[in-house]
């Protein structure tokens, strides 16, 4: 990969990281506190079977949503569109 392309890639990556950082901050501020209470209720009520499966379900669902979001961000980095010559052989 030539230096110019590398510089563009690094700049785009920094921008994407900053954008993603904002999304993470928004999640921490608005979504995480809303999930905390119902999960803690399940946990403290000794309803561990429901807690375990609900937890795994949340992880899977969030994983699929994040996959879509991060795939979009990665496509914005144009990594998928670099020519084979840019890759190490």
């Amino acid at each position: 990969m030539n230096k110019q392309k590398l510089r563009i890639l690094a700049r785009t990556l920094a921008l994407e990281l900053a954008g993603y950082g904002l999304l993470v901050a928004a999640y921490a501020a608005f979504v995480a506190p809303r999930l905390e209470k119902p999960l803690a209720q399940l946990f403290n009520n000794d309803n561990l079977i429901v807690y375990a499966f609900a937890g795994l379900g949340l992880i899977v669902v969030q994983g699929l949503i994040l996959d879509a979001v991060t795939s979009f961000l990665v496509s914005q980095l144009h990594l998928d569109r670099l020519s084979p010559a840019d890759k190490e052989n």
């Binding site: 993603y20 999930l35 905390e36 946990f43 561990l48 375990a52 994983g63 994040l66």
Partner: protein, 297 residues
Amino acid sequence: MEFVIAGVTISPLLLAGIGFLVGILGGFFGVGGGFIGGPLMYWAGVPMNFVVGTDLAHMTGKSIIATRRHRAMGHVDIKVGLLMVISSIVGVEIGARMIEMLKEVGSVDVVVGVTYIAIQVAVSLFTAWESIRALRIKSAGGTAAKDAVGFQSFTKRIHSIKLPPVISLPVSGIESISLWVVLGVGLFTGILSGLLGIGGGFVRMPLLIYVMGIPTHVAVGTDLFEIIISAGFGTITHALKGNVDISMALMMQIGAAFGAQMGAVATRFFSGPRIRLAFSALPLIGAIMVITRLLSG
């Protein structure tokens, strides 16, 4: 932010940062990253009983994302993953029983610690030696660069074992291999997981490449696929014992998601031998951590 379940207050951004770091490692090397994620969580203030279970929960989510990315690039052999899961489960049970036997003798820590160090150092040295050899073969122009392997004679000998049933693995480019080899690799990794309490990615990745002859990129993706199942199972069992803080795992997953994507995409820009050479440093980190723990009592 206060995480009520674990009973601690930790910055969610710190957790997302740890997830991001572990995500990059997982996406690039196909390992769960528990060897580095666990100590970092403990350092951040997560109680020890929540470290393992919560790390497994976030590992499940991260591996889903990395596996999907690898699958889009054609780097996941589902057939191998599913076959190995079956024998891995049996292996984990055997490993767990071996622990119980060692407990009776009263030498669990020493035996497990020394076995762990010996295996990690052996995997590290062998992978480094082989990948340097493969890079030399590659630079001599003898082999297609993408997946030169400096240890092919052993793999060929394994492939020549025709103990029935013999199966083919088209995604991995293997025309025929005994089913017992695939199950044996799964069983061996499972025993180590049960005995040493590790995810097994460290050992499974090299075995997929050198014993089964699976190309490095496919080995990384397939290993991640297997981590989804094993870490998902581990999440359930630990959560039932009350050792998982799901909100914490969800926060880590947010960071890990982007890291896993970056790591997975990065594999496209490195040849198999270079990925393996970089991988060879990882087991040493794990070994150093165990040595430190043993020495500090």
